[in-house]
Symmetry: C2
Subunit: 149 residues, 2 copies
DNA sequence: TGATGAATTGTTACTGAATAGCTTCTGCCC
DNA sequence: GGGCAGAAGCTATTCAGTAACAATTCATCA
């Protein structure tokens, strides 16, 4: 999936939503799209400063808030990092597999898993509004590299 | 479950493990035991300072690291808070239901849920080493209060 | 008892994460 | 062009977490 294609899809969604895909927001979006895996807000800020020298933490966090609202990115809670979602046409909860070796993140969308969590919560009378399901470990490709060495 | 009972159980486990349940560690343990729900490291630090004026962030984080190693506490990743676990006799992954109204945290231990997540990961060739499963929302008792008002 | 080595704690300093509050600018609608 | 709302600038601050090194405590073994 090319970056340009992602950008134009995002731009289109913003138009539909009546939201403004401003220059800064687009830049942050592109930086995220360039990143393999998650990236921290301050690293993102450093990169943004190369074209927006005046950028400050608030600049990044406002952009990240916007991108989150539009459903373009996920936050990785267990590592305080942000991740571009490549199928943002509909908001969806995701489960993340985060490789601690290569930083790659695999995004899952298992309905049974969510439903089971939902069911357990309901049993306790708990109303879920937001869920975080993440695993850290080692991805397939890193495991293979390890086996071959 | 009384605090004293928790403390003595913790002390016993430390003895068995050959770990030292020092004064600072016990104080942090007690502060966590006094807390309803999760608590942030710096709030914990403020409380600890009342009896340990020299305490610094490192003091708290070292104690928290120790208590985590012993399996006495969980970290709530989605709110950067720490929570005493009341059944720490065996290390176990937990799922947390965090009420955003009253701050209460319900701890679940669903084996099916973990296994399903495990299975999904395996399908992708991913080896899970640590998992975070949390939900934010509203607990039963807060929902009832709401209904009655 | 006294030496010693490891674990614990003290101390200073720093980086990274996130938000608050207020000002300025920009785009849009009338 | 005037006024309004949303976006971005700016300053400052709080919270979260770690690094590095010095000082201390403690169990143990000679």
């Amino acid at each position: 999936m090319s970056i340009e294609s992602l950008v134009s899809r995002a731009r289109h969604i913003c138009e539909v939503n009546g939201a403004r895909f401003t220059s800064i927001r687009e830049k942050v979006f592109r930086l995220l799209a360039d990143t393999h895996g998650g990236i921290g807000a301050y690293e993102l800020l450093d990169q943004l400063k190369q074209t927006e020298p005046a950028a400050k933490p608030a600049t990044i966090y406002r952009a990240l808030d916007f991108l989150t609202e539009q459903g373009f990115i996920h936050k990785i809670e267990s590592s305080n990092a942000f991740l571009l979602c490549h199928h943002f046409e509909e908001h969806h909860p995701a489960q993340l597999l985060i490789c601690d070796r290569c930083n790659h993140v695999e995004e899952l969308h298992s309905t049974p898993l969510q439903q089971e969590f939902q069911r357990l919560a309901s049993e306790k009378g708990f109303l879920i509004q937001r869920q975080t399901i993440e695993a850290h470990g080692i991805c397939q490709s890193c495991l293979k590299k390890e086996a071959n060495s």
